[in-house]
Symmetry: C2
Subunit: 332 residues, 2 copies
């Protein structure tokens, strides 16, 4: 490995787009943020990024070798290089960002969604270094996931694999934004935790400060703080959330046999309220050959820089893949 090599990581969000030059050890050499301007077409964002990147490059030490670009974006399809029907961007059915960047730079460019980026970030810079089989679960408003088997992200035949948030907990259960019922993310996510609190407020009679909150007002942070003071509704909500998470993670283990599962995002920081009981329930739902062999861990990537680290990791990973395929294709 050449220590002068760097990649550009770009994290596209509905409001802002962050980008940074990052070396193989995960050090940020330069970084910046611009507004995404979600109503403008994708090619406008790419043109604006190009201008900013050129400014940034001019300030970098001249001996650095820029090797590639990694992009994290919602609804990204790695196999096609596209962002498709992004909910918070006015980009239409499909925007081929890889092609757009190739219009400016003759470098390897790869794009994937936020959860897959988080998985690669964990693999290159976090707790999954040296692991070939692991899963990263991102817990936010919804539940995302990135699955790695045999050292490679699982994209599936259509580029959309690893969407555990829409596996089925209960076919007659909660209505999901995706149009189905009973999806995992309607139970295990910041929103899911609040829905469970509301269902418990209806079922149980315990006094609770949470009874003063409207559905619109209630946040996962409120539930966390109530649980910390011993509130029974909040504690029960965390326990139910942990049980469902443990049950579905046991299914995930049966599918791909990870060495560890990393939890990432706001809810993951709830620590003993979620992680410890989820590990307990996971064990209880595991098929016996897997028991005692799968660790449930907090992500080792810091929350603030995670998206950009994930995007940089996409770049590094793409370069590595291209190197391997070049070697394998060379005449022996």
């Amino acid at each position: 490995m050449n220590h002068n090599e760097i990649v550009l990581g770009i994290d596209i969000g509905g409001t802002t787009t962050a980008f940074a030059f990052v070396d193989k050890k995960g050090r940020l050499l330069a970084d910046a943020v611009i507004p995404t301007q979600s109503q403008q077409p994708a090619k406008t964002l790419v043109a604006r990024l190009h201008a900013e990147i050129e400014k940034m490059r001019a300030e970098l030490p001249p001996d650095l070798q820029w090797k590639g670009i990694g992009i994290g974006a919602p609804n990204a399809n790695y196999l096609r290089g596209t962002v498709e029907n992004p909910p918070n961007l006015n980009w239409g059915a499909s925007a081929n960002l890889v092609e757009m960047f190739h219009g400016y730079y003759d470098l390897p460019v790869a794009i994937t969604n936020d959860a897959n980026a988080a998985a690669l970030g964990e693999m290159y810079f976090g707790g999954a270094r040296y692991m070939k089989d692991f899963i990263v679960i991102t817990l936010g408003t919804g539940l995302g996931s990135g699955i790695v088997t045999n050292g490679e992200l699982v994209y599936g035949a259509n580029g959309f694999a690893g969407e555990l948030g829409h596996t089925v907990v209960d076919p007659d259960g909660r209505h999901c934004g995706c149009g189905k019922q009973g999806c995992l993310e309607t139970y295990v996510s910041a929103t899911g935790l609040c829905r469970t609190v509301f269902s418990l407020l209806a079922e149980q009679r315990d006094a609770s400060p949470l009874r003063d909150r409207s559905y619109q007002q209630l946040t996962a942070k409120d539930v966390y703080e109530a649980a910390r003071t011993g509130d029974n509704i909040a504690l029960t909500a965390f326990d139910k959330t942990a049980r469902i998470l443990g049950m579905k993670l046991a299914d995930a283990v049966a599918h791909t046999g990870p060495e560890a599962i990393f939890l990432f995002g706001g809810l993951a920081t709830a620590g003993d309220l979620l992680l410890a009981p989820a590990q307990h329930y996971l064990e209880s739902f595991l098929f016996s050959p897997y028991r005692g062999k799968v660790r449930l861990l907090r992500s080792e990537i810091q929350n603030g820089s995670s998206a950009i680290m994930g995007a940089a990791a996409i770049g590094w990973h793409e370069i590595q893949k291209l190197m391997i395929s070049t070697i394998a294709d060379s005449p022996s």
Copy 2:
């Protein structure tokens, strides 16, 4: 590819062990069956196989090049080369068959379980040729599965991945032989279908010839034949089985995004009674980006020769992997 190259496929069962020399196109050049003698240690079986193999080799055309050995066996661990706690063989906690064969032959040897062997058989000789992402489900007394992603079998960190039979349908559901409750194979398998019939006989009042069968007597074939004559209990049992299968296959799609799912084994031949409704339910449970993109198909490997074809495919696959890693390791 050299057309004179052959592998030896060995399928170890509780009663008999079949073996055959098979070429890259799946043609059997010579085959035989011996009793497994399940009470004898593994090394006795390997010694007896060695003697039989030598006899068989003496009869083969001299220009054939024997390249490797593939073994399919219950409770096989590919990563360790072992058979561990096989339920129907008196082999103890762990028998390293790969090591034992290396005592006789200086050839690549690989071992895996029956469902993974079925998946490789489908990839080399069946309907999954040219597919990089697919799943094979074997429906027999239980439910086995082999998952392929990125062109590679998913073994996971411990060698036991792809055990969909023990994913959870209902945490408070039917008791499973594995000690858990509500495992998929307690609903979707020959045994599961019969259990569903018994539960329906209790719940519903329809007249049915199945009411004359004891639990010990009832077979999946009885249910199939009753369904063919329009028996409502049997038809409902197939529909419930198909719904649960469709629901859990939708989860499998969310995990690994296969291009197709192949059903193999007795129940798979029930055709329209299971496959058609399972495809319908699968679609209804799929997350929208996957809809209309996953085919549910019958295995294209013939039932009679499937185990030996799977074992041969393990051999071919191991040789291919060794070639790729040799090329990748060579100085460029």
